[in-house]
Each structure stands twice: as structure tokens, then as C-alpha cells.
Symmetry: C2
Subunit: 141 residues, 2 copies
DNA sequence: GCGAAAATGCAACTTGGTTGCATTTTCGCG
DNA sequence: CGCGAAAATGCAACCAAGTTGCATTTTCGC
């Protein structure tokens, strides 16, 4: 899907930076961190990129996931991402930081009324940590 | 259980700070952040507290959970915490930051071999976000 | 109670993210 | 087309959580 159309639909201004950011994320099709995006960019102020990402999350065209390293990663929504309304788990390599969306897998239901009836759930985060293929190979050679 | 005995068993030195930290966490029986502990302390250097917490996690007498605010919380192990070998979910109020261990609930199994056979899982984090009773009441008055 | 190993305190640093503000750009509307 | 309000950008400064290095003090096995 064309990033320009996505921006228009979300009532966001189609500036060069914003188009670029969205294109990068759509092409990558995996959650990327702020630094990662900044490096991929030719020229963009880091604060501007932070604000772009915030705006995109606000406009619901990205979702963001906190890694176990405390760094946020941002992932463009594709139609695959809407399969599980309650969100999906994320795989994260603790060695290189790479993250993957497990878009097909629903997150387990929690019967909160039986645990803490006074708690109001807004959403859930499920992070699966470990070592990816690449890093595992590197470690065992 | 006496914190001194726990420290001895874990081959950790029983200094005043360490006993105090462990006692605070055992008494609270919920995950606490570094600042929260520091405030509860009378006099302790913040770096020292960081190092104590690290040592305790290393020695496996605490577990730590990253909140959606990017701040680590530390929780003393009780025998309840060992019910679910694969870990348990955590409830977090996004308004006040308070966290609760759902020690009775096992985290869903992920059949990683069918998804990414090359990924090696080390552990899982399941965070349930929302609003606690207190904060919900405050918002709706 | 001696001495090696570990714990502590302090200063300085790193890093991811935020805020304020002046300047520039976008885009709806006449 | 081009005007002007609203939004986006760039820059500097800031903030907070966590880390590192190092000199001093404390613990605890012998």
C-alpha cells in the first residue's frame, strides 16, 4: 500500500520525512528502533523523527513495542497485523536486538474478573526473549 | 523467611544495606522500582542500590520486570513465585506505575518450532496494562 | 585479628527520550 | 494562484534511568 495514501487517510501531512519514515517501516516490515531508523535516514533531526513516530502511533498507523533493553521499536501496520484484535506476541533477540511480530498468534486471555475485578485492562504486551539464528551461530563457533 | 538466611544461602554478604533491601522487598511482596526503594531507604547511595539489586537478580533471589515506562521493578522470590516455572504475568497500572505478580497464572506456551525453528527462547515477559482500582476511582470523580 | 575479596560512596558519564522556541513548510480556501 | 493559519522542522538545552571507574571501607574465612 502506498505510504502517501496511508498518510492522507490518517489525516497526516505528507512531508518528505514522514513519507520516508513510513516507507522505511513498510519495507522493513518489522519493528525498528529510533536509532535504526535515524541511521537509515540520510538527513533528519532526531527530535523530528521522535515526533514523527509519536504522531504515527497516535494516528494508529504504527504500533510500538518496548524491548527488554528499554528501547522502543516501531512497526508499520499491515493487514496481517489486524488478525489478532488483542495484539500479538513479539520475538526479540537479546543479542542483536532484532524483533519480529508473531502476527498469527493471539495473546492468551486473562480472566481479570476472577483475579482483580477492580483492575481495568487497556492492553497486553507479550515479549518472547532469546537468541536468533544468526547470533546463536556466532556464539557457537 | 528471614532475609539473613536467604542472603547466606545465596552466598551473599549480609551487609546492612543488603539486609534492608531484601527486607523491604519481602515485606512489600510486590515489584518495586529503584527510586521507590531508594525513597524507602534512609541513607544509601543510589549506585550501591543498583549494584545490590543486580547482585540479587544474579543470585536469583529477585526477579525483575520492565514496566511499560521503561523502568525496572524488582520483586523478592517467595515460594508462591515458584509455582509457574515458565514465569508469570504482571499487572501494571499505567497511571501510578504499581505492579502486581499474578503468581498463579502460567504464561501461554509458544510452539516456537512451528514458527521459527532457529530461534532459541530464553524466557518470556507478559505484561498486562491498565488502570488499578485507586487510579480508576480518581479519574471518575 | 589479618588480609584478600567484596561492598560502598562519589563523581562523571552514557543514552533514550522530552521540552521550548524560533523558523520553515504544508495545504485548505478564497 | 497565493495567502495565512496550522503543522512540521531543527536546534539547544534538558531530564532521568542506569553505568563505569576508582579510592575507601567493610566483611568474613582462616
Amino acid at each position: 500500500m502506498d505510504s502517501l495514501i496511508i498518510l492522507r487517510n490518517a489525516h497526516l501531512r505528507a512531508t518528505e520525512h514522514r513519507i520516508r519514515t513510513l516507507e522505511l517501516l513498510l519495507k522493513a516490515n518489522r519493528p525498528m528502533s529510533h536509532v535504526e531508523l535515524l541511521n537509515a535516514f540520510g538527513q533528519c533531526d532526531r527530535v523530528t523523527l521522535y515526533r514523527i513516530l509519536d504522531a504515527f502511533v497516535e494516528a494508529n498507523i504504527l504500533h510500538r513495542i518496548l524491548g527488554s533493553d528499554g528501547i522502543w521499536r516501531f512497526c508499520a501496520h499491515t493487514n496481517l497485523h489486524h488478525k489478532c484484535p488483542g495484539g500479538h506476541p513479539h520475538l526479540m533477540c537479546e543479542s542483536c536486538g532484532q524483533m519480529t511480530c508473531l502476527v498469527d498468534i493471539p495473546i492468551q486471555h486473562i480472566d481479570i474478573d476472577n483475579i482483580d475485578p477492580e483492575f481495568h485492562i487497556s492492553h497486553k504486551q507479550f515479549l518472547i526473549l532469546g537468541t536468533c539464528q544468526n547470533c546463536y551461530a556466532k556464539k557457537h563457533t
